[in-house]
Assembly symmetry: C2
Amino acid sequence: MQHNEDTQTIVPKNNFSEWYSEILKRAEILDVRYPIKGVYVWFPYGYKLRNLVYQILRSLLDEEHEEVQFPMLIPEDELLKEKEHIKGFEDEVFWVTRGGSTELEIPFALRPTSETAMYPVFKVWIRSHADLPLRVYQIVNTFRYETKHTRPLIRLREITSFKEAHTAHTTRADAEEQVKKAVALYKNFFDRLGVPYLITRRPQWDKFPGAAYSIAFDTIMPDGRTLQIGTIHLLGESFARTFDIKFEDKDGSLQYVNQTCYGISERCVASVIGIHGDDHGLVLPPTVAPTQVVIVPIVFSRKDATGDDGSRSVEAACAAVRANLEKAGIRVVVDNSDERPGAKYYHWEMRGVPLRIELGPRDLKNESCILVRRDTSAKRQVPLNAVVQEVQRTLEDIQVSIREAAHEQLRARMYNTNEDAAERYARAQQGVVSVFLCENEECGQKLEEQLGVSVLGEPLVDAETAENETSKGPCVICAQQGKRVYVARAY
Amino acid sequence: MQHNEDTQTIVPKNNFSEWYSEILKRAEILDVRYPIKGVYVWFPYGYKLRNLVYQILRSLLDEEHEEVQFPMLIPEDELLKEKEHIKGFEDEVFWVTRGGSTELEIPFALRPTSETAMYPVFKVWIRSHADLPLRVYQIVNTFRYETKHTRPLIRLREITSFKEAHTAHTTRADAEEQVKKAVALYKNFFDRLGVPYLITRRPQWDKFPGAAYSIAFDTIMPDGRTLQIGTIHLLGESFARTFDIKFEDKDGSLQYVNQTCYGISERCVASVIGIHGDDHGLVLPPTVAPTQVVIVPIVFSRKDATGDDGSRSVEAACAAVRANLEKAGIRVVVDNSDERPGAKYYHWEMRGVPLRIELGPRDLKNESCILVRRDTSAKRQVPLNAVVQEVQRTLEDIQVSIREAAHEQLRARMYNTNEDAAERYARAQQGVVSVFLCENEECGQKLEEQLGVSVLGEPLVDAETAENETSKGPCVICAQQGKRVYVARAY
């Protein structure tokens, strides 16, 4: 265990953009020193966090989906089949044109997403109604030729961890039911990360290319900008018609399948980092913390550590606590490095470890130790013989507090400013503004230009049912009948 | 659970090439109907098998390595830095030359392997001896522009599951020690898959481009051809010099690191399928079987199933057995589909499920059930109250038997035919031939041409220590002093 890091104070979090870059480096999440714009290297610690986050996502998906893996290369002619779809991606696709020194006859696209890789195969997989519903997912790397400013985990040329689920159903009603299930699944996922979200139906002029409609999860980052962290699309029959995916129904007739797809990328990791972190570094929810508890022996001499003088050994006591916590399934390390305790605290705080246990000779005499929470810095003495239960309970408390604090932050950045144009502009720089807007794309574009924002869409009040029940009012641009929508500066 | 497959007999395994293709399809491992040569789709069942195999590999690596992930794209100038290395790959690299409609200034290679992606970053990660040893691995997709005949899991344009480990050390001795550890780790891995192997040091003229030497694991497939299933390379300082990877030693001097790398691809899955399977389909070792036990209720009427007449229900008994097996950590399913028992047997045999439990009304009266082994077809009655222990014990037996049978097959295909040229040729069509060969590349090439084989290299007798202690004799080509080498037709 090496703690040879720079112990300078970090940039405060209210300078969010710099704080974010610094945290990714100092908590060893991603290394940005790779010689291609917009692609990054996962450090071991970052990758552990990534794996724990995706383990939760996988376990939720595995209840009703099967994991598959489709090829990364897509032949040009397949990618170009769905006209509306490709229009949405054509400027962003990387093309493989050469193998060795040979020009390829047909260029291959690096998948920007996998509809056009999967659906020609769905055509041969699906024969009869008995093959439906089909629900599969994969976690793969996808690629976008981003020309805008790139940012680790957020705007990438290689998305390393794109979870994309694709489903096919006999009826539109079943597909819509699947959309609701996907919304519920994503809620469950982000709840476990303590990440709050807004669920909206994207404007029709901003839906996924080829979809009937798109639903999105956005969270609000500390700088007031929203981050889209999940999307769910009802595809209906559009891709089925393009790729000729039919099934034989019970009555023997051939019908097109109805489809959905929904995706989550490593932006979910960005949201955990951005939302929960503080001026001392990461603050990780226990559910995904690679190390949930660090034990720091408070020893100032060899004697303290090993109990050479016949007194009990701090080293042995720490090892015993670790063994008991491990037995209870808690991810725990003892920091026996040669650093001073202060340097150890700094190291593990930066990495967001939810709970620290301090244990020295004096504690040992009292048969107790000190628990220190990462999120609140609160300290508490607990008896050694109750340490497992106390740690478990405290980790649960931390999980809840982190989530509640995050929800409070989000609520504080929601503004209802339908009335005043100046206030609307000011608020739109700080968070999410709720206004009335008609469905006309021109009004949407105008509003976006006026405020320098994106229209997120109509909020789904009851996200469980994916139905929109928000109120109506006059469009802030044209004064025609409009619906309530959220707008914000978006990543 | 749908069993609507074609129940025709499969091609016998002695027609290995056709058998292999058919099994991949009918056991639902890989779908070959993707419109690009040499890239395939993992079916859900195949991907479950793949995940279980890689879970073993990961758990072994996690003891001393950390998982990372490096970018898939490599800038042309980095890839070309290591002259010897690139010579080995230049004809096989896919190139991205376009983003959207823009020609890229520098083409990006799809990684064929990741030395040139990782080592420029190792240069900034490694500062001092305290940073060493560095041991990382990643499991990623890699790409080769194969112009030869491609084959699922074996010769691919997209290798979907390349596990590559890369290590850096202060001294050559430490690096050589790591090579030995890697050999031990790979032995452990393939032992758990029941896959037998030959370990050889590849001829110097056939080592990994840029390495000091290469060690390889080969197994023998049922058609007598060898399949390289793992490689381990001592890189020494060659890449460190190219990429300028130095560390400050204890005395303050700057030294080049010494490196190793070692890889395993989804060929490990191909070996499990090819070696253990039989004329009825897959035979999976319990360690990696997605379903370890299938319970088939033997019921011919509704009454049998549910015990409507007051007798005990077969359905309930099957559910109870399943619950008990699950509690013991066994991967088990009950096949309650509407198929006849025979069709169910066929279905699960094809998928290689190691153990079947048959349970009908008569068994229930006897408080017993029937266990049927997939590998030997042996049937045995066991009391219901001992079913968990009996299943556990039988699964362990199967694991051992499968492995022993595979080792026997391998031994039967090893030939020592130093004396007779005609026999040498004949044997080289059936398996691995051991002959004496000098170190001259020309002699090696001549022998390869004469026999239509590849020289695998010198066997490592004591693989634990990675030292070669085989005997010496006159080269079969030039009669100069030679060493014992293995030759075979290779995939």
